[in-house]
Protein backbone atom coordinates (compact mmCIF):
# COMPACT_ATOMS: atom_id res chain seq x y z
CA UNK A 1 0.00 0.00 0.00
CA UNK A 2 2.90 2.25 0.56
CA UNK A 3 5.69 2.41 -1.93
CA UNK A 4 8.82 1.49 -0.10
CA UNK A 5 9.05 -0.35 3.19
CA UNK A 6 6.21 0.82 5.46
CA UNK A 7 8.31 0.71 8.63
CA UNK A 8 11.04 2.78 7.05
CA UNK A 9 8.52 5.38 5.88
CA UNK A 10 7.08 5.79 9.35
CA UNK A 11 10.56 6.00 10.84
CA UNK A 12 11.56 8.66 8.30
CA UNK A 13 8.47 10.76 9.04
CA UNK A 14 8.94 10.51 12.79
CA UNK A 15 12.65 11.27 12.53
CA UNK A 16 11.78 14.35 10.49
CA UNK A 17 9.30 15.52 13.11
CA UNK A 18 11.86 14.92 15.86
CA UNK A 19 14.51 16.81 13.89
CA UNK A 20 12.15 19.75 13.49
CA UNK A 21 11.50 19.68 17.24
CA UNK A 22 15.22 19.76 17.99
CA UNK A 23 15.88 22.40 15.37
CA UNK A 24 13.43 24.73 17.06
CA UNK A 25 15.86 25.13 19.96
CA UNK A 26 18.38 26.94 17.81
CA UNK A 27 15.84 29.06 15.94
CA UNK A 28 14.39 32.42 16.79
CA UNK A 29 10.65 32.85 17.33
CA UNK A 30 10.06 33.48 13.63
CA UNK A 31 11.63 30.18 12.65
CA UNK A 32 9.65 28.44 15.36
CA UNK A 33 6.44 30.00 14.06
CA UNK A 34 7.19 28.90 10.51
CA UNK A 35 7.84 25.35 11.70
CA UNK A 36 4.52 25.42 13.53
CA UNK A 37 2.83 26.59 10.36
CA UNK A 38 4.52 23.72 8.54
CA UNK A 39 3.26 21.18 11.08
CA UNK A 40 -0.26 22.59 10.94
CA UNK A 41 -0.49 22.64 7.14
CA UNK A 42 1.08 19.20 6.93
CA UNK A 43 -1.86 17.78 8.90
CA UNK A 44 -4.33 19.18 6.36
CA UNK A 45 -2.15 18.06 3.46
CA UNK A 46 -1.99 14.52 4.87
CA UNK A 47 -5.77 14.53 4.91
CA UNK A 48 -6.00 15.75 1.34
CA UNK A 49 -3.39 13.20 0.30
CA UNK A 50 -5.68 10.45 1.62
CA UNK A 51 -8.58 11.78 -0.41
CA UNK A 52 -6.65 12.73 -3.52
CA UNK A 53 -3.47 10.75 -3.56
CA UNK A 54 -4.73 7.44 -2.26
CA UNK A 55 -8.43 7.38 -3.08
CA UNK A 56 -8.11 9.47 -6.25
CA UNK A 57 -10.85 12.00 -5.46
CA UNK A 58 -10.05 15.64 -6.30
CA UNK A 59 -11.30 17.77 -3.42
CA UNK A 60 -11.06 21.55 -3.39
CA UNK A 61 -13.00 21.76 -0.13
CA UNK A 62 -10.11 21.19 2.25
CA UNK A 63 -9.88 24.93 3.05
CA UNK A 64 -13.48 24.84 4.22
CA UNK A 65 -12.77 22.04 6.64
CA UNK A 66 -9.72 23.87 7.96
CA UNK A 67 -11.97 26.90 8.44
CA UNK A 68 -14.66 24.93 10.23
CA UNK A 69 -12.06 23.48 12.57
CA UNK A 70 -10.54 26.90 13.21
CA UNK A 71 -13.87 28.56 13.95
CA UNK A 72 -15.06 25.69 16.12
CA UNK A 73 -11.92 25.99 18.21
CA UNK A 74 -11.96 29.78 18.35
CA UNK A 75 -15.60 29.80 19.43
CA UNK A 76 -15.49 27.00 21.96
CA UNK A 77 -12.19 27.58 23.76
CA UNK A 78 -13.38 30.81 25.43
CA UNK A 79 -16.32 28.80 26.80
CA UNK A 80 -13.93 26.69 28.80
CA UNK A 81 -13.62 23.78 26.42
CA UNK A 82 -10.22 22.14 26.87
CA UNK A 83 -8.09 22.15 23.75
CA UNK A 84 -8.13 18.37 23.43
CA UNK A 85 -11.92 18.44 23.36
CA UNK A 86 -12.09 21.17 20.69
CA UNK A 87 -9.54 19.28 18.63
CA UNK A 88 -11.60 16.11 18.81
CA UNK A 89 -14.78 18.02 18.12
CA UNK A 90 -13.26 19.83 15.13
CA UNK A 91 -12.11 16.53 13.71
CA UNK A 92 -15.45 14.86 14.40
CA UNK A 93 -17.46 17.78 13.07
CA UNK A 94 -15.51 17.84 9.83
CA UNK A 95 -15.79 14.07 9.53
CA UNK A 96 -19.55 14.47 9.81
CA UNK A 97 -19.60 17.36 7.33
CA UNK A 98 -17.43 15.31 5.01
CA UNK A 99 -20.00 12.51 5.10
CA UNK A 100 -22.87 14.95 4.70
CA UNK A 101 -21.41 16.84 1.73
CA UNK A 102 -19.58 13.86 0.33
CA UNK A 103 -22.65 11.69 0.08
CA UNK A 104 -24.34 13.69 -2.67
CA UNK A 105 -21.07 14.94 -4.15
CA UNK A 106 -19.72 11.45 -4.65
CA UNK A 107 -22.61 10.56 -6.89
CA UNK A 108 -20.26 12.15 -9.35
CA UNK A 109 -16.57 11.51 -9.43
CA UNK A 110 -13.36 12.77 -10.86
CA UNK A 111 -13.32 16.32 -12.14
CA UNK A 112 -16.99 16.85 -11.28
CA UNK A 113 -16.16 16.35 -7.62
CA UNK A 114 -13.55 19.06 -8.04
CA UNK A 115 -16.24 21.43 -9.36
CA UNK A 116 -18.66 20.73 -6.52
CA UNK A 117 -16.02 21.12 -3.84
CA UNK A 118 -14.79 24.31 -5.47
CA UNK A 119 -18.28 25.73 -5.27
CA UNK A 120 -18.62 24.52 -1.71
CA UNK A 121 -15.48 26.37 -0.67
CA UNK A 122 -16.71 29.58 -2.25
CA UNK A 123 -20.08 29.24 -0.51
CA UNK A 124 -18.49 28.43 2.84
CA UNK A 125 -16.39 31.57 2.58
CA UNK A 126 -19.54 33.65 2.06
CA UNK A 127 -21.17 32.08 5.10
CA UNK A 128 -18.10 32.74 7.26
CA UNK A 129 -18.03 36.35 6.11
CA UNK A 130 -21.73 37.14 6.18
CA UNK A 131 -22.94 35.34 9.31
CA UNK A 132 -21.19 37.73 11.65
CA UNK A 133 -23.41 36.75 14.60
CA UNK A 134 -21.54 33.44 14.66
CA UNK A 135 -18.16 34.06 13.11
CA UNK A 136 -17.53 37.71 13.80
CA UNK A 137 -17.63 38.35 10.06
CA UNK A 138 -14.69 40.20 8.53
CA UNK A 139 -13.56 41.47 11.91
CA UNK A 140 -13.08 37.88 12.88
CA UNK A 141 -12.28 36.50 16.29
CA UNK A 142 -9.18 38.04 17.82
CA UNK A 143 -6.99 37.29 20.83
CA UNK A 144 -7.58 33.55 20.81
CA UNK A 145 -5.76 32.18 23.84
CA UNK A 146 -3.38 29.27 23.44
CA UNK A 147 -4.02 26.27 25.69
CA UNK A 148 -1.97 26.19 28.89
CA UNK A 149 0.87 25.18 29.11
CA UNK A 150 1.53 25.59 25.39
CA UNK A 151 1.44 29.38 25.37
CA UNK A 152 4.96 30.22 24.23
CA UNK A 153 5.89 29.87 20.60
CA UNK A 154 8.16 26.89 21.15
CA UNK A 155 5.76 25.10 23.50
CA UNK A 156 2.98 25.51 20.98
CA UNK A 157 5.23 24.11 18.28
CA UNK A 158 5.70 21.06 20.51
CA UNK A 159 1.93 20.70 20.72
CA UNK A 160 1.67 20.94 16.93
CA UNK A 161 4.40 18.34 16.52
CA UNK A 162 2.68 16.09 19.03
CA UNK A 163 -0.56 16.26 17.07
CA UNK A 164 1.35 15.76 13.84
CA UNK A 165 3.01 12.68 15.32
CA UNK A 166 -0.33 11.22 16.32
CA UNK A 167 -1.75 11.97 12.88
CA UNK A 168 1.32 10.44 11.25
CA UNK A 169 1.04 7.20 13.20
CA UNK A 170 -2.72 7.00 12.67
CA UNK A 171 -2.38 7.62 8.93
CA UNK A 172 0.39 5.10 8.70
CA UNK A 173 -1.77 2.55 10.44
CA UNK A 174 -4.73 3.36 8.24
CA UNK A 175 -2.75 3.04 5.04
CA UNK A 176 -1.24 -0.26 6.10
CA UNK A 177 -4.66 -1.61 7.03
CA UNK A 178 -7.05 -3.13 4.51
CA UNK A 179 -8.61 0.31 4.25
CA UNK A 180 -5.49 1.76 2.68
CA UNK A 181 -5.45 -1.12 0.22
CA UNK A 182 -9.10 -0.47 -0.61
CA UNK A 183 -8.40 3.29 -1.13
CA UNK A 184 -5.68 2.55 -3.66
CA UNK A 185 -7.89 -0.04 -5.33
CA UNK A 186 -10.65 2.46 -5.91
CA UNK A 187 -8.20 5.03 -7.20
CA UNK A 188 -6.69 2.61 -9.68
CA UNK A 189 -9.72 0.69 -10.85
CA UNK A 190 -13.07 1.19 -9.14
CA UNK A 191 -14.86 -1.35 -11.31
CA UNK A 192 -12.43 -4.14 -10.60
CA UNK A 193 -12.46 -3.15 -6.93
CA UNK A 194 -16.24 -3.48 -6.83
CA UNK A 195 -16.04 -6.93 -8.38
CA UNK A 196 -13.82 -7.93 -5.46
CA UNK A 197 -16.42 -6.88 -2.93
CA UNK A 198 -14.94 -3.43 -2.22
CA UNK A 199 -17.78 -1.07 -1.36
CA UNK A 200 -16.59 1.69 -3.67
CA UNK A 201 -18.99 4.39 -2.53
CA UNK A 202 -18.51 3.60 1.11
CA UNK A 203 -14.74 3.74 0.95
CA UNK A 204 -14.74 6.84 -1.26
CA UNK A 205 -16.96 8.57 1.25
CA UNK A 206 -14.71 7.46 4.09
CA UNK A 207 -11.59 8.69 2.35
CA UNK A 208 -13.26 12.05 1.80
CA UNK A 209 -14.52 12.27 5.38
CA UNK A 210 -11.22 11.23 6.96
CA UNK A 211 -9.42 13.78 4.80
CA UNK A 212 -11.97 16.37 5.95
CA UNK A 213 -11.46 15.40 9.58
CA UNK A 214 -7.73 16.03 9.27
CA UNK A 215 -8.58 19.41 7.73
CA UNK A 216 -10.59 20.11 10.87
CA UNK A 217 -7.68 19.07 13.09
CA UNK A 218 -5.45 21.43 11.12
CA UNK A 219 -7.90 24.28 11.67
CA UNK A 220 -8.10 23.50 15.34
CA UNK A 221 -4.33 24.07 15.59
CA UNK A 222 -4.39 27.04 13.21
CA UNK A 223 -6.69 29.15 15.39
CA UNK A 224 -4.54 29.18 18.56
CA UNK A 225 -1.35 29.36 16.49
CA UNK A 226 -2.30 32.54 14.62
CA UNK A 227 -4.55 33.62 17.52
CA UNK A 228 -6.87 35.32 15.06
CA UNK A 229 -9.49 33.86 12.78
CA UNK A 230 -11.22 35.61 9.91
CA UNK A 231 -12.70 34.26 6.66
CA UNK A 232 -10.08 35.15 4.05
CA UNK A 233 -7.47 32.49 4.92
CA UNK A 234 -10.10 29.81 4.31
CA UNK A 235 -10.99 30.88 0.79
CA UNK A 236 -10.28 28.88 -2.34
CA UNK A 237 -6.63 29.96 -2.32
CA UNK A 238 -5.92 27.70 0.65
CA UNK A 239 -7.53 24.71 -1.06
CA UNK A 240 -5.38 25.32 -4.10
CA UNK A 241 -2.27 25.76 -2.03
CA UNK A 242 -2.95 22.50 -0.12
CA UNK A 243 -3.48 20.80 -3.45
CA UNK A 244 -0.12 22.15 -4.60
CA UNK A 245 1.51 20.82 -1.43
CA UNK A 246 0.18 17.33 -2.06
CA UNK A 247 1.09 17.25 -5.73
CA UNK A 248 4.48 18.90 -5.37
CA UNK A 249 5.40 16.59 -2.51
CA UNK A 250 4.11 13.54 -4.33
CA UNK A 251 0.45 12.65 -4.58
CA UNK A 252 -0.19 9.21 -3.12
CA UNK A 253 3.15 8.97 -1.41
CA UNK A 254 3.31 8.73 2.35
CA UNK A 255 6.02 11.34 2.80
CA UNK A 256 4.68 13.65 0.09
CA UNK A 257 2.63 16.00 2.29
CA UNK A 258 5.52 16.60 4.68
CA UNK A 259 7.82 17.61 1.84
CA UNK A 260 5.12 19.51 -0.05
CA UNK A 261 4.15 21.58 2.99
CA UNK A 262 7.80 22.32 3.67
CA UNK A 263 8.24 23.63 0.15
CA UNK A 264 5.03 25.66 0.32
CA UNK A 265 5.95 27.26 3.66
CA UNK A 266 9.64 27.80 2.98
CA UNK A 267 9.91 28.46 -0.75
CA UNK A 268 8.46 31.98 -0.45
CA UNK A 269 11.06 32.55 2.28
CA UNK A 270 13.93 31.40 0.10
CA UNK A 271 12.66 33.51 -2.73
CA UNK A 272 12.12 36.61 -0.62
CA UNK A 273 15.27 38.18 -2.01
CA UNK A 274 13.43 38.29 -5.32
CA UNK A 275 11.12 40.86 -3.73
CA UNK A 276 8.07 41.55 -5.89
CA UNK A 277 8.99 38.82 -8.34
CA UNK A 278 9.01 35.91 -5.98
CA UNK A 279 5.47 34.73 -6.74
CA UNK A 280 6.35 34.74 -10.43
CA UNK A 281 9.35 32.55 -9.72
CA UNK A 282 7.35 30.42 -7.30
CA UNK A 283 4.71 29.72 -9.94
CA UNK A 284 7.39 28.90 -12.49
CA UNK A 285 9.10 26.50 -10.10
CA UNK A 286 5.80 24.75 -9.45
CA UNK A 287 5.02 24.42 -13.17
CA UNK A 288 8.51 23.12 -13.87
CA UNK A 289 8.25 20.65 -11.03
CA UNK A 290 4.91 19.39 -12.29
CA UNK A 291 6.30 18.95 -15.78
CA UNK A 292 9.57 17.31 -14.78
CA UNK A 293 8.47 15.08 -11.91
CA UNK A 294 4.72 14.50 -11.89
CA UNK A 295 5.13 12.09 -8.98
CA UNK A 296 6.44 14.95 -6.90
CA UNK A 297 9.66 15.57 -5.02
CA UNK A 298 9.38 12.33 -3.10
CA UNK A 299 9.03 10.46 -6.38
CA UNK A 300 12.07 12.31 -7.71
CA UNK A 301 14.10 11.46 -4.61
CA UNK A 302 12.97 7.84 -4.91
CA UNK A 303 14.15 7.68 -8.50
CA UNK A 304 17.48 9.21 -7.54
CA UNK A 305 17.88 6.60 -4.80
CA UNK A 306 16.94 3.81 -7.20
CA UNK A 307 19.46 4.96 -9.74
CA UNK A 308 22.14 5.19 -7.12
CA UNK A 309 21.37 1.70 -5.82
CA UNK A 310 21.47 0.26 -9.26
CA UNK A 311 25.00 1.54 -9.44
CA UNK A 312 25.96 -0.95 -6.71
CA UNK A 313 27.27 -4.07 -8.45
CA UNK A 314 26.74 -6.25 -5.39
CA UNK A 315 22.98 -5.87 -5.48
CA UNK A 316 20.55 -7.34 -7.92
CA UNK A 317 19.48 -4.55 -10.17
CA UNK A 318 15.95 -5.81 -10.62
CA UNK A 319 13.98 -8.34 -8.63
CA UNK A 320 12.18 -9.68 -11.64
CA UNK A 321 11.18 -9.12 -15.20
CA UNK A 322 9.84 -5.66 -15.65
Amino acid sequence: MMRGRPGALLATALAGILAVGLLSFVLEPYGVYLLSLWAVYTVAAIGLNLTLGYAGQISLAQATFVGVGAYATALLMPHGWPFGATLALAGGLCFGLGLLFGFPALRVQGHYLAFVTLALTTLAFLVMRNEAWLTGGVQGIAHIARPVPFTSGRAFLMLCLLVLTLVTVATWWLLRSPWGRAFIALRENPIRAASLGVDVRGYTLLSFAIGAALGGVCGSLYAPLVQYVEPSPFALALSLSLLLMVVVGGSGSFLGPYVGALVAVLLPEWLRFMQDYYLVVYAMVVMLLLAVCPDGLVGLAGRMLDRQRRGHPAEPADGGKA
Binding site: P178, R181, E188, I191, A194, L196, G197
Partner: protein
Protein backbone atom coordinates in the same frame (compact mmCIF):
# COMPACT_ATOMS: atom_id res chain seq x y z
CA UNK B 1 -20.53 -14.76 3.88
CA UNK B 2 -22.89 -16.89 1.84
CA UNK B 3 -26.36 -16.90 3.36
CA UNK B 4 -27.82 -20.12 4.73
CA UNK B 5 -26.94 -22.97 2.40
CA UNK B 6 -29.18 -23.64 -0.53
CA UNK B 7 -31.51 -26.61 -0.58
CA UNK B 8 -30.01 -29.47 -2.56
CA UNK B 9 -30.91 -29.35 -6.20
CA UNK B 10 -31.26 -25.56 -6.31
CA UNK B 11 -29.09 -24.19 -9.10
CA UNK B 12 -26.24 -21.94 -7.99
CA UNK B 13 -27.10 -19.44 -10.68
CA UNK B 14 -30.23 -19.06 -12.68
CA UNK B 15 -31.09 -16.57 -15.38
CA UNK B 16 -34.79 -16.17 -16.13
CA UNK B 17 -35.74 -14.58 -19.42
CA UNK B 18 -33.05 -11.89 -19.31
CA UNK B 19 -33.35 -8.96 -21.69
CA UNK B 20 -31.08 -6.02 -22.24
CA UNK B 21 -31.18 -3.60 -25.10
CA UNK B 22 -29.10 -0.58 -26.03
CA UNK B 23 -31.17 1.89 -27.94
CA UNK B 24 -32.86 -0.36 -30.47
CA UNK B 25 -30.31 -3.16 -30.31
CA UNK B 26 -31.36 -6.19 -28.30
CA UNK B 27 -28.02 -7.41 -27.04
CA UNK B 28 -29.60 -9.98 -24.74
CA UNK B 29 -32.99 -11.12 -25.91
CA UNK B 30 -34.64 -13.57 -23.54
CA UNK B 31 -31.92 -15.78 -22.15
CA UNK B 32 -32.73 -18.41 -19.53
CA UNK B 33 -30.41 -21.04 -18.15
CA UNK B 34 -29.25 -22.43 -14.85
CA UNK B 35 -25.96 -23.69 -13.51
CA UNK B 36 -25.81 -26.62 -11.10
CA UNK B 37 -23.35 -26.70 -8.20
CA UNK B 38 -19.92 -27.82 -9.29
CA UNK B 39 -20.65 -27.41 -12.97
CA UNK B 40 -18.21 -25.73 -15.38
CA UNK B 41 -20.45 -24.05 -17.90
CA UNK B 42 -18.89 -22.71 -21.08
CA UNK B 43 -20.55 -19.81 -22.91
CA UNK B 44 -19.58 -19.52 -26.56
CA UNK B 45 -20.85 -17.52 -29.44
CA UNK B 46 -19.59 -15.30 -32.24
CA UNK B 47 -18.43 -11.75 -31.57
CA UNK B 48 -21.28 -9.42 -30.79
CA UNK B 49 -23.62 -12.25 -29.90
CA UNK B 50 -24.32 -10.79 -26.45
CA UNK B 51 -21.98 -12.83 -24.24
CA UNK B 52 -20.37 -9.86 -22.54
CA UNK B 53 -23.68 -8.10 -22.03
CA UNK B 54 -25.06 -11.27 -20.50
CA UNK B 55 -22.10 -11.40 -18.13
CA UNK B 56 -22.54 -7.78 -17.17
CA UNK B 57 -26.24 -8.37 -16.44
CA UNK B 58 -25.49 -11.43 -14.34
CA UNK B 59 -22.84 -9.57 -12.35
CA UNK B 60 -24.77 -6.41 -11.58
CA UNK B 61 -22.59 -4.26 -13.82
CA UNK B 62 -25.58 -3.49 -16.03
CA UNK B 63 -29.19 -3.64 -14.92
CA UNK B 64 -31.17 -5.98 -17.20
CA UNK B 65 -34.09 -4.39 -19.06
CA UNK B 66 -36.23 -7.35 -18.02
CA UNK B 67 -35.86 -10.73 -16.41
CA UNK B 68 -34.35 -12.06 -13.23
CA UNK B 69 -31.05 -13.32 -11.91
CA UNK B 70 -31.22 -15.82 -9.06
CA UNK B 71 -28.36 -16.85 -6.84
CA UNK B 72 -29.02 -20.02 -4.86
CA UNK B 73 -32.68 -19.52 -5.61
CA UNK B 74 -32.69 -15.95 -4.30
CA UNK B 75 -33.48 -13.00 -6.54
CA UNK B 76 -30.35 -10.85 -6.84
CA UNK B 77 -31.37 -8.82 -9.90
CA UNK B 78 -29.99 -5.29 -9.71
CA UNK B 79 -27.66 -6.02 -6.82
CA UNK B 80 -24.30 -4.18 -7.01
CA UNK B 81 -21.18 -6.07 -8.06
CA UNK B 82 -19.68 -5.54 -4.62
CA UNK B 83 -22.73 -6.99 -2.88
CA UNK B 84 -22.79 -9.97 -5.24
CA UNK B 85 -19.12 -10.55 -4.62
CA UNK B 86 -19.68 -10.62 -0.90
CA UNK B 87 -22.30 -13.31 -1.55
CA UNK B 88 -19.66 -15.49 -3.11
CA UNK B 89 -19.70 -14.46 -6.78
CA UNK B 90 -16.41 -13.41 -8.27
CA UNK B 91 -15.18 -12.80 -11.76
CA UNK B 92 -12.23 -12.20 -14.01
CA UNK B 93 -12.08 -9.65 -16.78
CA UNK B 94 -11.51 -9.93 -20.46
CA UNK B 95 -9.15 -6.98 -20.41
CA UNK B 96 -6.44 -6.92 -17.78
CA UNK B 97 -7.75 -5.67 -14.49
CA UNK B 98 -5.14 -5.91 -11.78
CA UNK B 99 -3.97 -3.07 -9.54
CA UNK B 100 -0.61 -2.08 -11.02
CA UNK B 101 0.59 -0.03 -8.05
CA UNK B 102 0.05 -2.86 -5.57
CA UNK B 103 2.36 -5.83 -5.25
CA UNK B 104 1.14 -9.24 -6.39
CA UNK B 105 0.62 -10.31 -2.80
CA UNK B 106 -1.26 -7.10 -2.00
CA UNK B 107 -3.50 -7.69 -4.99
CA UNK B 108 -4.42 -11.09 -3.59
CA UNK B 109 -4.99 -9.82 -0.07
CA UNK B 110 -7.21 -7.07 -1.45
CA UNK B 111 -9.23 -9.70 -3.29
CA UNK B 112 -9.97 -11.48 -0.04
CA UNK B 113 -10.09 -8.75 2.58
CA UNK B 114 -13.66 -7.55 2.13
CA UNK B 115 -14.85 -11.04 3.03
CA UNK B 116 -13.15 -11.10 6.42
CA UNK B 117 -14.72 -9.56 9.50
CA UNK B 118 -16.42 -6.17 9.71
CA UNK B 119 -15.14 -3.02 8.04
CA UNK B 120 -14.30 -1.37 11.35
CA UNK B 121 -12.68 -4.58 12.54
CA UNK B 122 -10.46 -4.52 9.47
CA UNK B 123 -9.28 -1.02 10.31
CA UNK B 124 -8.09 -2.03 13.75
CA UNK B 125 -7.15 -5.60 12.94
CA UNK B 126 -4.07 -7.01 11.28
CA UNK B 127 -2.79 -5.16 8.22
CA UNK B 128 -3.08 -8.32 6.12
CA UNK B 129 -6.57 -9.06 7.47
CA UNK B 130 -5.16 -12.47 8.39
CA UNK B 131 -4.91 -13.40 4.72
CA UNK B 132 -1.17 -13.81 4.24
CA UNK B 133 -1.39 -17.59 4.52
CA UNK B 134 -4.28 -17.73 2.07
CA UNK B 135 -2.40 -15.46 -0.30
CA UNK B 136 0.71 -17.64 -0.08
CA UNK B 137 -1.40 -20.66 -0.93
CA UNK B 138 -2.86 -18.90 -3.94
CA UNK B 139 0.62 -17.74 -5.00
CA UNK B 140 1.72 -21.33 -4.83
CA UNK B 141 -1.30 -22.65 -6.69
CA UNK B 142 -0.83 -20.20 -9.53
CA UNK B 143 2.99 -20.46 -9.48
CA UNK B 144 3.40 -16.79 -8.68
CA UNK B 145 5.65 -17.16 -5.61
CA UNK B 146 8.71 -15.64 -7.23
CA UNK B 147 6.76 -12.54 -8.20
CA UNK B 148 4.97 -11.99 -4.88
CA UNK B 149 6.69 -8.72 -3.96
CA UNK B 150 6.74 -7.16 -7.41
CA UNK B 151 4.29 -4.49 -8.39
CA UNK B 152 1.56 -6.08 -10.47
CA UNK B 153 2.03 -3.44 -13.13
CA UNK B 154 5.49 -4.81 -13.87
CA UNK B 155 4.28 -8.34 -14.67
CA UNK B 156 4.04 -9.81 -18.15
CA UNK B 157 0.62 -10.15 -19.75
CA UNK B 158 0.33 -13.87 -19.02
CA UNK B 159 1.45 -13.39 -15.43
CA UNK B 160 -1.14 -10.68 -14.92
CA UNK B 161 -3.77 -13.00 -16.37
CA UNK B 162 -2.82 -15.63 -13.81
CA UNK B 163 -2.95 -13.07 -11.05
CA UNK B 164 -6.36 -11.93 -12.24
CA UNK B 165 -7.65 -15.48 -11.97
CA UNK B 166 -5.95 -16.06 -8.63
CA UNK B 167 -7.66 -12.94 -7.29
CA UNK B 168 -11.01 -14.34 -8.32
CA UNK B 169 -10.41 -17.39 -6.15
CA UNK B 170 -9.04 -15.61 -3.08
CA UNK B 171 -12.32 -15.33 -1.27
CA UNK B 172 -13.27 -18.99 -1.82
CA UNK B 173 -16.16 -18.13 -4.12
CA UNK B 174 -19.10 -20.41 -4.76
CA UNK B 175 -19.43 -19.12 -8.28
CA UNK B 176 -16.77 -17.72 -10.58
CA UNK B 177 -17.46 -16.07 -13.91
CA UNK B 178 -14.41 -16.08 -16.14
CA UNK B 179 -14.37 -13.73 -19.11
CA UNK B 180 -12.00 -15.12 -21.76
CA UNK B 181 -9.44 -16.47 -19.32
CA UNK B 182 -7.34 -18.02 -22.11
CA UNK B 183 -7.13 -14.91 -24.24
CA UNK B 184 -3.53 -13.88 -24.82
CA UNK B 185 -2.09 -16.62 -22.65
CA UNK B 186 0.68 -18.61 -24.36
CA UNK B 187 0.32 -22.30 -24.97
CA UNK B 188 2.72 -23.53 -22.29
CA UNK B 189 0.97 -21.51 -19.64
CA UNK B 190 -2.44 -22.45 -20.94
CA UNK B 191 -2.26 -26.11 -20.05
CA UNK B 192 -1.12 -25.36 -16.53
CA UNK B 193 -3.81 -22.75 -16.24
CA UNK B 194 -6.52 -25.21 -17.22
CA UNK B 195 -5.25 -27.68 -14.65
CA UNK B 196 -5.36 -24.97 -11.98
CA UNK B 197 -8.94 -24.15 -12.80
CA UNK B 198 -9.90 -27.79 -12.77
CA UNK B 199 -8.21 -28.27 -9.42
CA UNK B 200 -10.00 -25.23 -7.97
CA UNK B 201 -13.28 -26.64 -9.21
CA UNK B 202 -12.66 -29.98 -7.56
CA UNK B 203 -10.99 -28.87 -4.32
CA UNK B 204 -13.25 -25.98 -3.48
CA UNK B 205 -16.36 -27.24 -5.18
CA UNK B 206 -16.71 -23.89 -6.97
CA UNK B 207 -19.02 -23.49 -9.89
CA UNK B 208 -17.67 -21.80 -13.04
CA UNK B 209 -19.17 -19.97 -15.93
CA UNK B 210 -16.57 -19.39 -18.66
CA UNK B 211 -16.80 -17.15 -21.71
CA UNK B 212 -14.16 -18.30 -24.12
CA UNK B 213 -13.21 -18.14 -27.77
CA UNK B 214 -10.54 -20.79 -27.61
CA UNK B 215 -12.60 -23.88 -28.51
CA UNK B 216 -9.98 -26.38 -27.40
CA UNK B 217 -9.85 -24.73 -24.02
CA UNK B 218 -13.61 -24.77 -23.67
CA UNK B 219 -13.97 -28.33 -24.83
CA UNK B 220 -11.30 -29.63 -22.49
CA UNK B 221 -12.42 -27.66 -19.45
CA UNK B 222 -16.19 -27.38 -19.47
CA UNK B 223 -18.75 -29.94 -18.42
CA UNK B 224 -21.51 -28.21 -20.33
CA UNK B 225 -21.62 -25.55 -23.02
CA UNK B 226 -24.24 -23.07 -24.20
CA UNK B 227 -23.95 -21.17 -27.43
CA UNK B 228 -25.41 -17.68 -27.85
CA UNK B 229 -26.20 -15.97 -31.10
CA UNK B 230 -28.05 -12.69 -31.56
CA UNK B 231 -28.90 -12.48 -27.89
CA UNK B 232 -30.48 -15.90 -27.64
CA UNK B 233 -29.37 -19.40 -26.66
CA UNK B 234 -29.22 -21.58 -29.73
CA UNK B 235 -27.63 -24.67 -28.21
CA UNK B 236 -27.21 -26.16 -24.77
CA UNK B 237 -25.57 -29.48 -23.96
CA UNK B 238 -22.32 -31.38 -23.62
CA UNK B 239 -19.27 -29.83 -25.27
CA UNK B 240 -19.34 -32.55 -27.88
CA UNK B 241 -23.03 -32.10 -28.68
CA UNK B 242 -22.74 -28.33 -28.99
CA UNK B 243 -19.70 -28.55 -31.18
CA UNK B 244 -21.57 -30.75 -33.60
CA UNK B 245 -24.80 -28.76 -33.50
CA UNK B 246 -25.43 -27.50 -37.06
CA UNK B 247 -27.02 -24.30 -35.76
CA UNK B 248 -23.85 -23.49 -33.88
CA UNK B 249 -21.71 -24.14 -36.91
CA UNK B 250 -24.08 -21.99 -38.94
CA UNK B 251 -23.88 -19.15 -36.40
CA UNK B 252 -20.11 -19.14 -36.46
CA UNK B 253 -19.79 -19.52 -40.19
CA UNK B 254 -22.60 -17.19 -41.04
CA UNK B 255 -21.10 -14.44 -39.03
Amino acid sequence: MTPAGPTPGTPVLEARDLHRSFGGVRAVNGISFSVAPGEILGVIGPNGSGKSTLFNCLLGQLPPSAGQVLLDGEDVTGMTPAALNRRGVSRTFQLLQVFPQLSVRENLILAGQEHVGSRLGRLFGRPDAGLTAAAERMLHLFRLEALADLLAGGLSYGQQKLLDAAMAFMAGPRLVLLDEPAGGVNLTLLGAFRERLRAMNQEAGSTFVVIEHNMDFVMSLCTRVICIAEGQIIADGSPQAVRENPQVIEAYLGH
